[in-house]
């Protein structure tokens, strides 16, 4: 079921087009990644979906509700984790979560229970009485998430939630995203860290200059570039007969030798690597260096735009 449907969306800031006739849809239960460099239009799309910005042109329906006709009902279904740490420094962790819970309509025992659950979910139960100014960057980011999920929204939108934090906190957050998804929430996750999107998202749209330049699963996106892995082996005493024998190894699509380097293309590099090494060693070929490159989203973006993702 299509939970979020965006059709022909356009948003301009003066003469600059932030989102250009964009259409995409998110299926219920997805972890949907919006990947793109800074200025690609990710935050603008999120702000429009959350009702914080008005689109110039286009239709957005969330859970079959048109955002223009009933924005409040749409907002009830969404939890936004903003890119910035938007918390009150003088309030405790519990008070911050409780405040946003009240804005979402929670009261009484349900509010208390959900606040405790949110604290527990982000691992801040023992820090409930601490204020954000006493927290580390990672703890603040986790509290930022807790405030957005306290009302257990159907859709959770995370706008670059891992900016500026240590690897341990990043892993905790990425793990939290997966758990939230397992608990039934549909997630929209924006980032310009392609490794994050690649590791947690099952559907990805790559944006550039306000347009979707590619969409699909990560496997589908990688196939845009190539469906072959590349193995480069630098060796010291390669000979013609060894090369001919190498070409007979099963699973290798292409083998060539130049400047003491063997270039191999294979559909699955890992499965053929053992056979290649066995053949080379049995023919007394001495290996100096091995490089293996698998296509990733960075390669996809590079091939589609001619630029690197973080340029």
């Amino acid at each position: 079921m299509e939970l979020i449907k965006i059709q022909d969306l356009t948003k301009r800031y003066g003469s600059n087009i932030a989102v250009d006739n964009l259409s995409l849809s998110v299926t219920e239960g997805d972890i949907f990644g919006l990947l793109g460099p800074n200025g690609a239009g990710k935050s603008t799309i999120i702000n429009i979906v959350c009702g914080l910005l008005k689109a110039d042109v286009g239709t957005i329906t969330i859970d079959n509700i048109n955002i223009k006709s009933d924005p409040m009902e749409v907002k009830r279904r969404i939890g936004l984790v903003p890119q910035e740490i938007a918390l009150y420094d003088v309030l405790t962790a519990r008070e911050n979560i409780s405040f946003f819970g009240k804005l979402a309509g929670l009261r009484g025992n349900i509010l208390k229970q959900r606040t405790d659950e949110a604290l527990e979910f982000v691992g801040l139960t023992d820090k409930f009485n601490g204020t954000p100014k006493e927290f580390s960057g990672g703890m603040k980011r986790r509290l930022n998430i807790a405030c957005a999920i306290v009302h257990q929204p159907k859709i959770i939108i995370m706008d670059e939630p891992t900016v500026g934090i240590d690897p341990q906190s990043r892993n905790h957050i990425l793990d939290s995203v997966k758990r939230l998804n397992q608990m039934g929430s549909t997630i929209i996750y924006t980032s310009h860290y392609m490794e994050e999107v690649e590791s947690i998202c099952n559907q990805i749209s790559i944006l550039d200059n306000g347009r979707v330049i590619a969409s699909g699963t990560k496997e589908q996106l990688k196939r845009i570039v190539s469906n072959e892995d590349r193995i480069t082996i630098e060796c010291l005493n390669m000979n013609y007969s060894s090369l001919e024998k190498l070409k007979t190894v099963h699973g290798l699509n292409h083998v060539e030798f130049n400047d003491n380097k063997i270039e191999i293309l294979a559909e699955n590099a890992q499965s053929v690597l053992q056979d290649v090494f066995f053949l080379l060693s049995s023919n007394d070929v001495r290996i100096k260096e091995v490089k293996m490159s698998v296509p990733n989203l960075e390669t996809v973006f590079l091939s589609l735009t001619g630029r690197k993702l973080r340029d």
């Binding site: 959350c50 009702g51 914080l52 409040m72 009902e73 907002k75 009830r76 969404i78 936004l80 903003p82 910035e84 740490i85 938007a86 918390l87 009150y88 003088v90 309030l91 008070e95 405040f99 946003f100 009240k102 804005l103 979402a104 309509g105 009261r107 405030c147």
Partner: protein, 374 residues
């Protein structure tokens, strides 16, 4: 309108304002400390007001009595009083309103019927009132001495056997009592600190924008007007707490008499809080950081307080003072404090209402534009 959202925002703001120890002291104790310090320091100056010299001033004068002594008083007061004051001829009707509107310190009334002279003081010109009372008292003493002499002469040689009634100065009709230094500074500090309470809504709005909380709140099912009203209620409540505290403490500790018109005082306080909220919203629409907002609002509010005489005991200039919000609020509070009625503060309330309307019109227009542009 979802009032639960309004109260959530308001309670949160009050909680945050009172949680910071610095804010707590500034909001709740500073007004009291200022009243104590200024009231104590300026008390001698207020006490000396009775002995000060006065410039030439205007006196409202009504003399409709046809009797001979009244004509004699008329002649006397015109000649002897000319060195000190000018008489502004008037009628008995609406004399108190004339005094308030035009700032006359004293009125002399010789009613058409009765053997007395009535002197009414505005409560704000003690020295002027003393001059008039001294001159009148001197005249009446001489006159009464003559009448007493007449009484001692046999009736067949007395030129005017009927005039055995002495002429009196009727004193209990003073319009307002004189204001004390503590009353003066309690009211001026109340006005000043109520105006500064607008800073709390200004800084709250600015902070919410700068740390992106406003954006985050807007992602929840809450309308912009609910958010803004919540902020206004929060800041207004702090103003009300301040006002209650200032009135209670100054009454109990310094013996300040706030008059017997709580409704009028409440109306004035409500108007000042309303105005201060509009100022806070206006400043927050132009200034990006709460520090800069606090600094600029403090400069403006202190400047207005000085111009209106809020810190000095007297305005630098009456004309310039009229341009400040403090002047109109202060005048209305002191009028009520010293016994004035609602009718006596209508003009001040009307001016405050106009200021509030203009500021709110501007504040809401600019706020809406700012939110739309965000």
């Amino acid at each position: 309108m979802n009032w639960k959202h309004v109260t959530t925002i308001a309670i949160n703001d009050i909680k945050m304002s009172l949680r910071s120890p610095v804010s707590f002291v500034l909001i709740l104790f500073m007004p009291i400390i200022m009243v104590f310090v200024m009231g104590s320091v300026m008390k001698p100056a207020f006490d000396m007001a009775e002995t000060q010299t006065v410039d030439h001033f205007d006196v409202i004068y009504v003399n409709e009595n046809p009797e001979g002594w009244a004509k004699a008083y008329d002649s006397f007061i015109r000649n002897s009083g000319a060195d000190y004051f000018s008489l502004v001829e008037s009628s008995e009707v609406g004399i108190e309103d004339q005094m308030i509107e035009n700032g006359y310190p004293v009125a002399i009334i010789v009613p058409s019927v009765g053997n007395y002279v009535q002197i009414i003081g505005s409560g704000k010109g003690l020295a002027e009132e003393t001059v008039v009372r001294t001159l009148t008292g001197g005249f009446l003493s001489s006159l009464n001495f003559t009448i007493a002499l007449n009484d001692s002469i046999p009736s067949d040689v007395s030129p005017n056997p009927q005039s055995k009634q002495y002429i009196t100065e009727k004193t209990p009709d003073t319009l307002f009592s004189n204001i004390t230094s503590y009353q003066y500074f309690a009211s001026s500090m109340l006005v000043f600190f109520l105006l500064t309470s607008g800073m709390s809504i200004g800084t709250a709005l600015t902070d919410d924008r700068s740390i992106k909380i406003h954006k985050r709140i807007n992602a929840y099912p809450i309308r912009e007007k609910e958010y803004l009203i919540g902020k206004i209620v929060g800041s207004g409540t702090i103003g009300v707490i301040q006002a209650i505290l200032v009135i209670a403490v100054t009454t109990l500790v310094f013996g300040v008499d706030w008059g017997d018109k709580p409704m009028e005082i409440t109306m004035i306080i409500a108007l000042v809080i309303f105005i201060s909220s509009a100022i806070g919203i206006l400043f927050s629409s132009f200034i990006k950081s709460s520090g800069a907002l606090t600094a600029s609002m403090t400069v403006v509010l202190w400047f207005m307080a000085f111009l209106s005489g809020g810190f000095t005991g007297a305005p630098i200039s009456d004309t310039v003072s009229n341009l400040t919000i403090n002047h109109w609020a202060f005048q209305s509070i002191t009028t009520v404090m010293t016994g004035g009625e609602f009718s006596n503060i209508q003009r001040e309330l009307a001016v405050l209402l106009i200021i509030a309307t203009l500021l709110w019109g501007a504040a809401l227009t600019i706020y809406k534009r700012r939110v739309t542009n965000e």
